[in-house]
């Protein structure tokens, strides 16, 4: 057996589901508290906040201004069709909105939560009929497509609804992450428990925010997601988003392993583990959109302090996207941690056995899913 220098490899630092459950019930953070982790998480969430701001603006633009456009060539330009903007876009001097679309498609496809239930309801079908009737009077292409493919336009509207909802969700998260960075600079957040508590408070504060979406066609307003549907931020968008993007995801090159022919992909998409918490930060040389494009986007907005910190490690600038991905995974564990804490059925210090059992079941359900995630990044 060859002798491999110890400094070339790190030991496997994963934790098992028992440890995940213990930390959740003991009010400990999943991510180990350290000064480096604080720098990484706050810094990366700040750059993520900047990126989410752009994603959010673009998704809302797409849902409102590229609505029912079957060939949305200029959908990434946010309505700015100047030559400079088009040149920068073609020259790839831009945010990779493809990653935002990937997340939207993951949410749309995995289809969990209250919004998806509403998208399958009769009330939504009625909204679609009215919208399509109004739209096809003005758009000859849609007038042809609607009778030929009756399911096509309603599906585009469902997709647009998810797009808009994700845009609204990221609007909140973008502000929350930028506020977190400001709070850390002000000294209000000093450690990882402080980060998790800050995010949890932000999520809880926005929990009941209404999610609604309407479009204007020929001066007439139509609701796609009306207020009376009662959709709210936390349970109808945030939780499905975590389920679709953090946990399930979709198999793409760069995840731990997938090979449909070898039956390595579960036929049950509820058991998918290709989300951000499971993804391999080290790409296996494959093509594919996520997560590498997100890392490029965050690289454009890295806080100088964190950039310096990266430059001092491993290959410096050479593998900065891998480092960003590793920090991103740590920060996503903090966000997940905050979401789990925020949705805990009872206070953790409750002495009521029934409350303790309910909390235990909640923590157990999460531990089973996180026990096989990339928890190796949690160690200091």
């Amino acid at each position: 057996m060859p002798i491999i220098p110890a400094d070339l490899v790190h030991a496997n630092l994963s934790i098992d589901q028992e440890e995940v459950k213990r930390r959740l019930l003991a009010s400990e953070t999943l991510l180990t508290d350290s000064a480096d982790h604080l720098l990484e998480v706050v810094g990366i969430l700040e750059s993520y906040g900047e990126v989410l701001d752009a994603y959010s603006i673009n998704l809302i633009y797409q849902a409102e201004h590229q609505f029912l456009n079957p060939i949305p060539i200029f959908k990434y330009l946010d309505g700015d069709l100047s030559l400079g903007k088009i040149w920068r876009h073609l020259n790839h001097d831009r945010i990779n909105f493809e990653y935002a679309e990937y997340c939207q498609k993951a949410m749309f496809w995995h289809a969990t939560g209250g919004m998806d239930a509403y998208l399958d309801s009769e009330a939504f079908a009625e909204n679609c009929r009215r919208i399509i009737a109004a739209k096809r009077r003005r758009d000859p292409l849609l007038a042809v497509l609607a009778p030929l493919f009756p399911g096509f336009l309603p599906e585009l509207i469902r997709s647009a609804a998810t797009t808009h909802a994700l845009g609204q969700f990221w609007r909140v998260m973008s502000d929350l992450f930028l506020d977190l960075a400001a709070a850390e600079r002000d000294g209000r957040v000093r450690d990882i428990p402080g980060v998790v508590a800050f995010i949890k408070d932000g999520l809880v504060a926005a929990a009941a925010n209404p999610i609604h979406y309407g479009v204007t066609i020929g001066g007439e307003h139509f609701w796609v997601l009306p207020p009376e549907a009662g959709l709210t931020f936390l349970v109808d968008v945030a939780v499905p988003y975590v389920e679709a993007v953090f946990l399930r995801g979709m198999p793409f090159l760069g995840t731990v392993s997938f090979n449909a022919q070898a039956q390595q992909i579960s036929p049950d998409q509820a058991r998918f583990t290709y989300g951000a918490l499971y993804a391999d930060p080290l790409p296996s040389m494959g093509a594919g959109i996520p997560p590498s494009l997100l890392m490029q986007d965050m690289y454009r907005h890295l806080p100088p302090k964190l950039h310096q910190w990266y430059l001092q490690r491993t290959r410096g600038e050479g593998d900065v996207r891998v480092k960003i991905c590793m920090s991103f995974q740590k920060s996503m564990f903090c966000v997940t941690n905050a979401a789990i804490n925020g949705t805990m059925p009872h206070p953790l210090n409750s002495s009521d056995p029934a409350a303790q059992a309910a909390n235990g079941a909640h923590a157990q359900a999460w531990a089973e899913r996180l026990g096989i995630a990339r928890t190796d990044c949690l160690a200091a």
Binding site: I3, P5, L8, S284, V322, I372
Partner: protein
């Protein structure tokens, strides 16, 4: 004086290094060595420019009586057979010096030995006297032994001693054959006289040629005389492996053509069918043994055993095309094996291992060795004989030139060429494809994927020599005429001289 300068530059350089005043740092000594070797390469190129490709026989000859009593003349000359090898020697010793790093132990001796080897090899290729050849042939032995035994790996003493015993035996056999030729023919001036063996009975010729075949067969090396090579390569440092594979093995094949074929044409013709089979066995054995290796360096070493077999096949066929192929094979194998060893050296330095059961995914663009991996793919393609690279030209010429003379042996050797693709694709697939890892798999796929590999990046200066070699491999592949025009006259003359045939195949 041009040829003498090719000896004087490295030999005086050796002396200069050993006598250099003060206590120069290793990097200073390295710079001086690189400077000397660059001058030597420039003189090698000047020799190539002064060389007339259309002229038959040795050129730029220099002859002085040295020790006439024992028949040792200082006689140098160059022809289309030796010139490419002199150029390869100039280029690869320079590469060896450039890629030498971290020599903290006796750096002065190390670089002096490198220069001494370079001069001795030049001398052997240029010698126009049997004893002079032998002198230089033996002269490179001790420096190489020192380079392995002082600066080698953990089992360097074992490997160096094995190398010494084998090559000393090789030297004795060669000297025995030269002395035998002189004594039996009565011509004790030890000149390279092709018709000399006509004076001998076939039995005597076969004995003498047999001794040369075994002597040079050890050096090449041919199966079953190859045993020393994988150990020597495994224990030698990367620059020494580059020299050993790229230049020193060529002394064996050069000796086979220059002294075996040229001095004993009748006996050669008698033995040729057996030699062709020997070549095929060597090719197949080397290739099959390479498939079984898990150490990258041993795999490349066994591939050398296989690929040197092509030269014997071409020499056995002894046609103008096959002999030209032999020269091409010597040059292309020199470049390709040097490139392979150089890249394996980079992998070893960065990961600490060469074990194919451990290395994975080194081609990874973010944290692996992408440029090294890409160059390795180029080297592997060249070695497997893909068109557009040097390996294709040489293998095609060898097979084209040999197939009519020895169809079975040639076909078997072609199988060996296919096997090259097998073992080198195994190497690339195992070490360079997949997810990056440098530890043995534990059986738990998820846990294995969690190991955080921290490989230092490869600095551009580390890959520049490899890029230069790869460029040479491609240059010969797309412009074979550059080498062919130098050697064609000489190889055609050699085939005509020994068989009387001048046509293709």
């Amino acid at each position: 004086m041009l040829l003498t300068s090719l000896l004087l530059i490295p030999f005086l350089g050796t002396l200069a290094l050993l006598l250099w005043p003060g206590n120069p740092t290793p990097s200073r000594l390295r710079q001086i060595t690189i400077g000397i070797l660059a001058v030597q390469l420039a003189f090698s190129l000047a020799t190539a420019l002064a060389f007339d490709p259309a002229q038959v026989g040795l050129q730029l000859r220099e002859q002085h009586s040295w020790l006439p009593g024992i028949g040792l003349d200082y006689a140098l000359g160059v022809d289309g057979l030796s010139l490419p090898l002199v150029l390869i020697n100039g280029a690869l010793t320079l590469v060896s010096a450039v890629i030498t790093r971290d020599i903290s132990q006796r750096p002065r001796l190390y670089f002096a030995m490198l220069l001494l080897i370079s001069g001795a090899v030049n001398g052997a290729f240029l010698a126009d006297n049997l004893l002079l050849f032998f002198l230089f042939y033996e002269l490179e032995l001790i420096p190489l032994w020192l380079l392995i035994s002082v600066w080698g790996g953990v089992n360097r003493a074992y490997a160096a001693t094995k190398f010494l015993i084998f090559t000393a035996a090789s030297g004795m056999l060669i000297l025995g054959a030269f002395l035998g030729l002189a004594l039996l023919t009565g011509q004790v001036d030890f000149s390279l006289t092709p018709v000399l063996s006509d004076r001998l009975a076939m039995g005597g010729q076969l004995w003498l040629l047999g001794a040369l075949l075994i002597g040079f067969g050890i050096k090449i090396p041919l199966v079953p005389l190859h045993n020393w090579l994988p150990d020597a390569h495994t224990q030698a440092s990367t620059p020494v492996s580059v020299l050993l594979a790229g230049v020193l093995l060529k002394l064996g094949t050069y000796g086979l053509l220059r002294f075996g074929l040229q001095l004993f044409p009748e006996a050669w013709e008698r033995l040729a069918p057996a030699l062709a089979i020997w070549a095929a066995v060597s090719v197949l054995y080397g290739s099959l043994a390479a498939i079984a290796q898990t150490d990258m360096k041993r795999m490349v070493a066994y591939s050398s055993v296989g690929h040197m077999g092509y030269v014997l096949l071409a020499a056995a066929a002894n046609t103008p095309v096959s002999l030209l192929g032999a020269v091409f094979q010597m040059v292309s194998h020199g470049l390709i094996s040097a490139l392979l060893f150089l890249l394996v050296g980079i992998v070893y330095r960065k990961t600490g291992t060469r074990d194919l059961e451990v290395l994975r995914g080194l081609l990874n663009p973010e944290r692996g060795l992408p440029l090294t991996g890409s160059l390795m793919t180029v080297a592997v393609m060249a070695s497997a004989g893909l068109p557009g690279m040097a390996g294709f030209i040489s293998e095609f010429l060898v097979f084209r030139g040999s197939i009519t003379a020895f169809p079975l042996a040639t076909l078997l050797s072609m199988v060996g060429s296919g096997l090259t693709a097998v073992y080198f694709l195994l190497l690339v697939n195992r070490a360079f494809f997949g997810r990056l890892a440098i530890t043995p798999p534990s059986g738990d796929a998820v846990a294995d994927a969690r190991l955080d590999v921290q490989l230092a990046p490869v600095a551009p200066r580390e890959t520049i020599p490899a890029l230069a070699l790869a460029a040479g491999v491609v240059l010969i592949g797309v412009w074979p005429h550059s080498l062919g025009r130098i050697s064609e006259v000489a190889t055609t003359a050699l085939a005509t001289l020994t068989t009387g045939s001048g046509g293709l195949g």
